[in-house]
Symmetry: C2
């Protein structure tokens, strides 16, 4: 099934897989320029970086902003294997990202379609388009296998 | 009046002032160890770093986590000149910070006593104690002067 996924989501899944191999919760994120080029790609590194903010999305946003040379990623899209948390959803909004594609839902920490639903709140000043479920099965498998090994 | 403020808040205000001098929205944050020592101190650098996530709180959290050598800042406290936004509130919770002291309220972007009230939400798994209003006048003056010059 993986073959049918868009290239950036495949790469995000590969980042998630690499994160798991490092012992990190398997989440990956990829940012695509308005021209369709992948300009940032990162996996979760909270343990390795000893940084509670080193979620895949934040690392990818920082990488992309460095590349673009601006703190705003106008018309860029993000592909992420797990529903963003409140921290990452707010960062996505601050970065003015156009579209969010996420794979698996996160009932516990997600803040897009679950929990705080950050983008639906009146204090959210830039609201991206959201597409969910793309690559869900693959992303969920990575998470389930990761947590199964640890519990 | 400044003389009566706790030392970490005075330093956070100095960070905010330095941010304004760099052309950044004047917000400063300081993190204090359980022993009462200042272990991180940062001002907003979103423009300078070309990084939408470079809010004072996030920079201070990353700095403190590096120093402590852990992604968790157990029993540490944060002093910040402005009510944290959703991104920073979530990061504060992830970092397991014990107490949040903030100066000025932020009706537009704040997510502690305004807006999303992140720490009150059931999906917030670590809830710090919150103290607000300490240094409010000084923090507000910095913000008002900054925006007055730019509008």
């Amino acid at each position: 099934m993986k073959q049918k996924l868009p290239e950036p989501m495949l790469q995000a899944l590969a980042e998630a897989e690499a994160a798991a191999a490092r012992g990190e919760v398997p989440v990956g994120a990829v940012i695509v320029s308005p021209a369709g080029e992948i300009i940032a790609s990162a996996g979760n590194r909270t343990l390795q970086h000893k940084d509670p903010t080193a979620h895949a999305e934040l690392l990818a946003i920082r990488q992309a902003a460095q590349g673009v040379g601006s703190e705003r990623l106008m018309n860029c899209d993000i592909y992420v294997t797990l529903e963003p948390c409140a921290m990452c959803a707010a960062a996505i909004s601050f970065a003015r990202i156009r579209r969010v594609y996420f794979a698996a839902s996160d009932e516990k920490m997600g803040a897009v379609e679950n929990g705080l639903r950050f983008f639906n709140h009146p204090t959210c000043h830039h609201v991206p388009e959201v597409y969910s479920g793309i690559g869900e099965t693959a992303a969920q498998s990575l998470l389930i296998n990761f947590f199964r090994l640890r519990r």
